[in-house]
């Protein structure tokens, strides 16, 4: 599907900050029908102070849109202290050109976020829909749950083209995460649904205490948990509607919690 973005809001950073800027008000669904002046005056928190977008960004708008889906926000500059980009976003598109801070795409329910750089921790936490594509690496807790909850990411798709940090997809209950690089420990722990596919090397403790869901390791797994049992060896398996080429071992577990999750391991 080709989405033609008819309204583009360009934010170019003119002043960086050592204290984080909170970007949860800068969303397509809040800005699609706003004038240039309104966008400039949109409140962002700088520490505990309310400040305007124009204090830190040069704003340019081209085009006009009637629905949030037609709105695209492009953010340029040093975004390494810009938090909560696309937090709770439900439609439209955000492109961040640079490394971003915590909580990018957390709790999002729709739309697309593209990060052309690395992301800090908590990317896509508890997201329920939409697409989050990160061209660089992510740190800890990508696609997992916030503290306390036992329901993490429940829908949508996260694509990480670099490496992922610890506790990827903790408590995940649905949706899909694709990591093209390597992955640190504890991926998919407490998982209860959804799909994780990891192309690179992964350390240990994959799928600990998982109850349901699917994990596919296309690269190398350093150490398998003893609570998983080998079920069968399949050539070119069909997993969740997609063929994976090669010889795969299917493990089920985690038996420690009577789980019925499946872990596919490429041999």
């Amino acid at each position: 599907m080709v989405v033609l973005f008819v309204k583009t809001i360009n934010l170019k950073m003119i002043k960086s900050s050592s204290i984080a800027l909170e970007f949860d008000n800068v969303l397509p669904e809040l800005l699609y029908d706003k004038s240039l002046e309104d966008v400039k005056n949109t409140i962002i928190f700088h520490g505990n102070k309310k400040e305007a977008v124009s204090d830190y960004f040069d704003v340019n708008i081209t085009g006009k849109s009637d629905i949030p889906d037609d709105c695209e926000i492009i953010i340029d500059g040093d975004l390494s202290r810009v938090k909560r980009i696309g937090y709770c976003m439900s439609s439209g598109k955000i492109v961040a050109n640079g490394d971003v801070d915590f909580h990018v795409g957390a709790c999002m329910s729709g739309g697309t976020i593209i990060v052309n750089g690395n992301a800090e921790s908590y990317a896509g936490r508890e997201m329920t829909g939409g697409v989050l594509r990160i061209k660089g690496n992510v740190k800890e807790f990508c696609g997992s749950s916030y503290a306390g909850d036992w329901r993490g990411m429940s829908g949508g798709k996260i694509i990480v083209e670099g490496n992922a940090g610890k506790q990827l997809a903790e408590y995940m209950v649905g949706g899909e995460i694709i990591v093209k690089g390597n992955c640190d420990i504890l991926a998919g722990v407490h998982m209860a649904g959804g799909l994780i596919s990891i192309d690179g090397t992964i350390n240990q403790w994959v799928g600990g205490q998982m109850k349901k869901g699917t994990i596919i390791v296309n690269g190398k797994l350093e150490e398998m948990l003893p609570t998983f049992t080998l079920q069968e060896i399949v050539h070119n398996p069909l997993i969740c509607g997609k063929y994976y080429i090669g010889k795969y071992e299917l493990y089920s577990g985690d038996n420690g919690v009577k789980g019925v999750g499946s872990l596919w391991l490429k041999k």
């Binding site: 749950s145 916030y146 503290a147 306390g148 909850d149 036992w150």
Partner: protein
Amino acid sequence: MEYLLKNGIVFDPKNNIDGEQMDIFIKDGKIVENVSSDAKVLDVSGKLVMPGGVDLHSHIAGPKLSIGRLYRPEDIRRGIKPASQEDISGFEAGFSLPTCPTIGYRYTKMGYTTVTEAAVPPLEAKHAHEEINSIPNLDIPTLTLFGNNWFMLKYVKENRLDDLTYFISKWLKLAKGYGIKIVNPCGSEAWGWGKNVDGLDDPEPHWNVTGREVITALTKVNERLGLPHSVHVHTNDLGHPGNYTTTLETFDCIKDIKKNKNVERNQTMHCTHVQFHSYKGTSWRDVSSGATELIDYINKHNHLTCDIGQITFDETTTMTADAPMEYDLFRLTGLKWANKDIEVETSSGLIPSIYSKHAPVSVLQWAVGLEFFMGVTDPWKIALTTDSPNGGPFIRYPKIISWLMSQEKLQDMLNNEVHNWAVNRTNLGTYDREYTWNEIATITRASPAKILGLNDRGHLGMGAKADVSVYDIDVENFDPTLKNNSAILENKLLNSKYTIKDGEILVKDAKIVKLVKSNHIWCKVNGLEKEEEILTNRIKPEFNKYYTIKYENYGVNEHYIKPETCVDIEYGGVICENN
């Protein structure tokens, strides 16, 4: 300050005022017969006017809530409302475990002025009273847990009823408690050995005392002392299929104990959240409702009252001093579970609980609760509670009222919304009762106040405390029996037009306009000082041996409970001869 509430439609069941248009006069925090011409007139023509709400069983303060808040940060993230300029109240957060100020704001907005904290172990009483100091706008009596206390068990075992009387009297003073709460008598203590008791006659492993002995002894002591509230009992076997027989036995075991002659209440036992104690069957597969037998018993006997503990289909948190039951729930659901031992006194536990319209067991529990509302003919014997937050948070009371007032709504839920166990395994479908405003005023105001023995509230008679709630409901023209009006009714009851407490307007047009400190209500028995002192001196060595704190640091000091309302009781010796 004087106020004149003009032309409201008043429901005051205690004084037999059933929807009359009349004026209410308020002066110096009391309801009076007339006020001077300077009085401020509040025009409430045609609006629903009731006494301030009284909740007789809720969990709003104490360490269990603090543990819950630490333990369920995801619950605190629900129901966040930022502070705003036009509302004097601040930031709100939390759903089943709201922050302390949020509890006060939400109860006041619903028109409630008195809320009972139903389970405070004496060891944690300081904490509970400190939390009450952070809750605004309410009058809060606390019920003190005695059902598994070692000293109590010892006196019951040795049949020393006199010593037990002095002990309870002294310990109520130490904990600044209002009444006696019994939770799973002997069962919570058996949890110290990893066990539970099975029914009323199963002895606790160490003391070899049964729940029956504990309940009868404490009821006798309660009537000897003449406390304003009766014993407040959470019976054994909560939430186990087949537990209705235990509940019936509990009802029956104290029926011969005579009521103290000086008290105004009718009951000698208040049985709390009966809904959780009314299941037939042997397992969760063949469970069905046992409410019919219990309703029958309640209708035929006058020595007990109950509150319901209605389920409201929410994701909530269960917290109780009945720790073995929480462990059973953990085994059932597998959700995160917290367990805490309160040394010498009780155990406690906490676990999230999800009641769904599609889960057969939740639906059965929901229907059993409503069966009690429908089946108990005398509304003075029941009170509306959800055992907040165990069955659902207290902000769901208006929703329950909307179910009770509309048979159309209830039938629609039974037929279209909920799992078929509600129809197949309970008798809820056979009732066609619809609550009137007068009955609603009874189960939320008059009856709980009477059961608690707080005679100055729950009604609008002369000299009563000026606790009044006014709702923006046009009683003449608004039809609560229509299904489509349920949501409107719920919303209006959640946001009162006026809430007046002690003659001060706290809520105006659903906005909190004034914050006052909560009042600690406790009960002091006079006339036993000498005996208490002798007993205390005897207890001290044992106390210092078993507790990790010293006796001197144990009691709640006076400065914790400002402002306070102390209910003074004169001990008159053994008033009922057979006790």
